[in-house]
C-alpha cells in the first residue's frame, strides 16, 4: 500500500484506498484489503466523483491539514465516508435534503463519530451555518440548477478565510439547452465574482460523464 500526495489516501496501482474506520465492514460492497495489519477500503471512482477527481491529477494536498469539512449533497454517504476516513481528525458535516437518502447516511454515521449528518437543504445555509461554523474545506455535489450560486452562498456562510473548496459541477443539471463550455464559463464567473479563486479544473471521464470538478480557494 503506497501513500499518495493526499492525506489519508493510499493506492495500489490505479486503485485508491482509505483506512477502514470500521474494520470488517464495507459501506456498500467495495473490496476490503488487509496490508501491514491494517484494513483498507477500496474507493471506487465510478461511484465517487471525488475518487475520480483524484485520479485526474487533483492538486496535491487538496485537503491536507483540514480540521473541518462541510459536505453538501451527501446522498448515501459513500464519498463522505471515505473523506471522513482520509481526515480522521476532522469533523465532516454532511448535508442531505432527501429523507430517503438520509436514512443510510445516518446509519453510517453511527459507527463514525467524526461524521455528522444534517437533514437540510443546501440552498438555505443559514439553517445549519451556526452548527457548522467556519470550515476549512467545502465540498459540493448537488443536482441543482443553481449549483454555483449555492456553492458561493455556502462559502460565504461557512468557509473560513482562505479555506479550500471543491465544486463537482453537474453540467446537465444546470440546463439542457446550452453546450457544456458555456455552462462551465458561467459557473466559473459566478465563483470568481464572489472572490473565490479557481485553482484547478478537470473533467471526470470516463468515470462520470458531463461532470467537471472545480477546485477553489476562498
Amino acid at each position: 500500500m503506497d501513500v499518495t500526495e493526499w492525506a489519508g489516501v493510499y493506492r495500489e496501482g490505479r486503485q485508491l484506498y482509505t483506512r477502514n474506520a470500521v474494520p470488517g465492514r464495507p459501506v456498500h460492497d467495495e473490496e476490503l484489503r488487509r496490508a501491514d495489519g491494517l484494513e483498507y477500503r477500496a474507493w471506487d471512482p465510478f461511484r465517487s466523483k471525488l475518487a475520480a477527481y483524484l485520479l485526474h491529477a487533483a492538486p496535491p494536498g487538496l485537503w491536507n491539514g483540514c480540521r473541518s469539512v462541510l459536505y453538501l449533497g451527501g446522498a448515501h454517504g459513500t464519498t463522505a465516508s471515505h473523506l471522513a476516513e482520509a481526515l480522521p481528525e476532522a469533523t465532516v458535516y454532511v448535508v442531505e435534503k432527501s429523507p430517503t437518502s438520509f436514512a443510510p447516511l445516518l446509519r453510517l454515521s453511527r459507527d463514525r463519530p467524526s461524521l455528522v449528518p444534517i437533514l437540510a437543504d443546501a440552498q438555505l445555509p443559514e439553517r445549519y451555518a451556526a452548527d457548522v461554523g467556519r470550515v476549512d474545506f467545502l465540498y459540493q455535489d448537488v443536482a441543482q440548477r443553481q449549483q454555483a450560486a449555492i456553492f458561493v452562498e455556502n462559502a460565504r456562510a461557512c468557509l473560513a478565510r482562505s479555506g479550500r473548496g471543491l465544486l463537482m459541477l453537474k453540467v446537465r443539471s444546470v440546463t439542457q439547452r446550452q453546450p457544456a463550455p458555456v455552462i462551465l464559463r458561467s459557473a466559473r464567473s459566478t465563483l470568481t465574482s464572489a472572490r473565490l479563486a479557481v485553482l484547478h479544473e478537470s473533467g471526470l471521464a470516463p468515470f462520470s460523464q458531463e461532470h467537471v470538478a472545480i477546485s477553489i480557494r476562498g
Binding site: T91, P99, F102, A103, L106, S109, P113, V116, P117, I118, L119, A120, L124, P125, E126, R127, Y128, A129, A130, D131, G133, R134, R156, A157, R161
Partner: protein, 331 residues
Amino acid sequence: MTGPSEPLPPRREIVTTWFGAFLVEEGRLVQAERAPLDPAALAERIDLRRAGRLVPEEERILERLGGLAAATSDRRLVPHGVTLDPRARGELPGAEAEPPVELHRAALRSAAVRALDAAWDPSIHIEEAIRAQEDLDRVQNLVAERLTSWAGRDPPDAPEGTPTPRSPVDPALLEGRAALERLAGEIRSTHDRLAAAIEETLPRRAPNLSALLGPDLAARLLARAGGIARLSRLPAGTIQVLGAERAFFEHLRGRAPPPRHGLLFLHPRIQSAPRSERGKLARALAGKAAIAARLDASGAPLHPDLRTAFDARATQVRSQRLARRPPSNRR
C-alpha cells in the same frame, strides 16, 4: 490601509455559534449569551435553527441592541433588522473557549434522528404497493401470453394405432412450463393480496378520495399522479384526463376530439351513464376528486359533502336529459 483582499470588518457584528450568540463591536466581544450546555437544550436550539427561527440567545442580543445597526453572516437574522454583510466572518475575537465538541456532535446526531423521523412519510408504502401492483399487471400479461402460446404447441393427437414419427417432447421442458404456470398463479395471488392491503389501508390514509372514488380507483389515480402530494397539486382538468394521455395529446395535435375521461371512467356512475353524459359527469367528478386530494394531502378527515355534491350533480344531469327529451313511447 487594508488591501482589497482584506476588507474592513463591519463595526458591529452578531455571531451565532452552536454554543451561543455573541455581539462583537470593533473587534471586541461586548455581549455573550451562552446556551445552556446540556444535550436537550442544544438539540432544541438546533431544531429552531433548522426551522429558520431565532434561538433565545439571539433574541436577547437583539433586545439589548434595540434597533442599532449590526451586521451578520446569517440570513436568519435579516428579517429582524440585521444587515447581511459579506465582510461579516462569523468569527469570535481572541481565544473564545469552545465547549466540548462531542456534546455538540451528540446533539446534532439526535436532532438528525428526530428530523428524519418527522420527515418520514408512511404513505410512501401505499404508493410503492400500488406501483408493485402495476408491475405485477405487466408481468402477469407477459407470462399469460407466453403460456397461451406455449400451450398451443402441444403435439396434436395422433390418429389411433398409427405409430408417431415425432420424437416426444423433453419432459424437462414440460416441467419448466408447469413451473411457469405455478408462477402465474403466484403472481395472481400476490396481486390480490396487494389489492386487499391497499383496499384496507387507503381509506385511512386518503379517506376523501377513497370515499368518493372507491379504494381501487383512488389507488390507480394516486399511482398515475405519483403520490398524494402530487395529485393534490393537479388541476381538476388534468385529473379528468389522467390515464387518457394518448387521446389527450392526439387532441392537442388537432387530430381527435378531447377525451372525456381517463381512469375516471372506472367509476360506476360514469361507466353506467349514457355516452352523452359521461363528459359532464367526469368533469364534475374530477372537480370533486381534486378537492378530495387536497383534503387528504393536508391530512383532513372525511368530508361528507363531496360525495353528496357529486351525487346531486349526477341526478341533475340525468333530470336535464329527461326534461329535454320529449316523452316517447319507448319509456
